[in-house]
Point group: C2
Chain length 295, copies 2
């Protein structure tokens, strides 16, 4: 199993995530040919030029009719349409996996749109976000030492889950398994909430009457804090819709803490402000040391 | 004037900011000897070992009695004590400047504690924040292409303001001039607010019952968004107190925008969410292109 090779892989959505998977899996010798499917002819042409894919197609059904594995790496909002299109033509043995940032909704979509294929469905989330997008952003090594979370269905056949896990390991990733709800709660906290906080911040600055002057004096702290506000709007729209409940809980929790901090500023409460900042700083420093050790 | 050399410079607070100024100004040949003053004997010893300072002192008055220029690079909360200590001993020609992140309060402190010395007072803010601190963090080149904002008093003698500007230019910085209130409003927006937002976010995550599991799956987006939450608590306590009014206005403005975004998530308003994210993304991308061109 550990040296199994997948002959025909179809990547639906040849961007940073799907393209980097194709590059890494091909270099590891785990994949025969890669067919890239996408809406943008220009992006597919670029992917061919860069050697990210071997063939290009704008017809997802035709491409998937010969697939051994389909990786749906589109925004989650497009997945229903993709699953519907491929359901009638998918070979019985073909594995369907994805790279969505939310998992509860992908599980629901697979149940709704691929009901007779669930044994071969392996929902997955490679954690390698970036503000870059498109095939030109695809890169070798993107998944080195990154985490991939797999959330199999109860119907998923163990060999299908294991093959997907193996492919990701071949790309350099560490594979973890959890339930879709647990996944979505954890990522609402550590990824979805900060993205929304950063979007709200940059939008607020941009709307100020003195925005130009403000931006002029923004420096490296601003740069790092706002990097994720350069992310793909459509993707974050879909994540916000898909993980709505967990995200609203996190937004409420954040707002309560920001309100508490605002009250300390209002009151000019020096010691409490110091404690508030020290508490956060200690947690950040401890986290970062662990992060550096593990990456 | 442009090749003027300052014989004796006293740096009060030999950390990243003061230490890097000493290194750069000495390398540019603009400074004779540098006396470092600080609370921590260990930090001063390290500064001597690293060649950041030429002499060390824990007696700020004694050190400043022979100064041609004093750079107060302590947290703003310590400046009243420093100004009081040096007021009786400062040579009449000695320039007093600072590196505080807020300027309205420093202007007020200079007026209150150095009333007979205002012609030689030059409030300044080098914009080179970092989550690093201590003399060991001092580095050559920290100010290359960075901005320094000078907010002279009406009493400040032009030659004093020009000398401070010249020294910063010799360190590689671009010098700007504005009023203290304008300075504090701009930096409340682009620096102070995001620091508080990041502290509030990390504190919130750290307080969650599943914090350990959440931190385990935090990745590069989290890393960059939270970097500034590793900053110096005392410094940010002082900034929060000093720039309270402008900061409260920004907190209210941010909260209004976050509330608007929260309502879009609640309503599942797909198009409006897309527009909200797209608006922020466009502003971030445009800002970043300008930032890269200028740095």
């Amino acid at each position: 199993m550990s040296v199994q090779r997948v002959e025909t892989v179809v990547i639906v959505g040849v961007g940073l995530i799907g393209g980097s998977f194709a590059l890494a899996a091909k270099r590891a010798g785990r994949v025969g040919r890669v067919i890239g499917v996408g809406r943008s002819e220009k992006n597919l042409r670029r992917a061919l030029e860069l050697g990210v894919i071997d063939e290009a197609s704008q017809d997802v059904a035709a491409a998937c009719s010969a697939a051994d594995l389909v990786l749906v790496a589109t925004p989650v909002g497009q997945m229903a349409r993709v699953f519907d299109a491929i359901a009638p033509v998918l070979p019985a043995h073909a594995i369907v996996t994805d790279a969505g940032s939310t998992k509860g909704d992908v599980v629901a979509l697979m149940r709704a749109h691929l009901p007779s294929h669930l044994a071969r469905c392996v929902p997955a989330h490679p954690i390698a976000g970036s503000d870059l997008s498109g095939a030109a952003a695809a890169q070798y090594g993107l998944y080195e030492n990154r985490k991939v979370v797999i959330t199999p269905l109860v119907e998923t056949a163990p060999d299908a889950a294991e093959l997907v896990a193996e492919l990701w390991r071949a790309c350099g990733a560490n594979v973890h398994q959890m339930g879709p709800d647990e996944h979505d709660a954890v990522f609402a906290t550590v990824s979805h909430l900060p993205h929304l906080l950063a979007f709200a911040y940059v939008g607020m600055v941009a709307d100020k009457p003195d925005a130009v002057r403000c931006f002029d004096f923004a420096a490296t702290g601003f740069r790092d804090f706002t990097r994720i506000a350069g992310s793909h709007p459509e993707m974050w729209r879909d994540i916000s819709l898909a993980n709505r409940d967990a995200l609203l809980a996190e937004l409420a929790r954040y707002r309560a803490n920001l309100d508490a901090l605002t009250r300390l500023v209002e009151a000019g409460a020096a010691d409490e402000l110091n404690d508030f900042f020290e508490h956060a700083r200690e947690a950040r420093v401890a986290w970062h040391q662990r992060f550096l050790r593990n990456s």
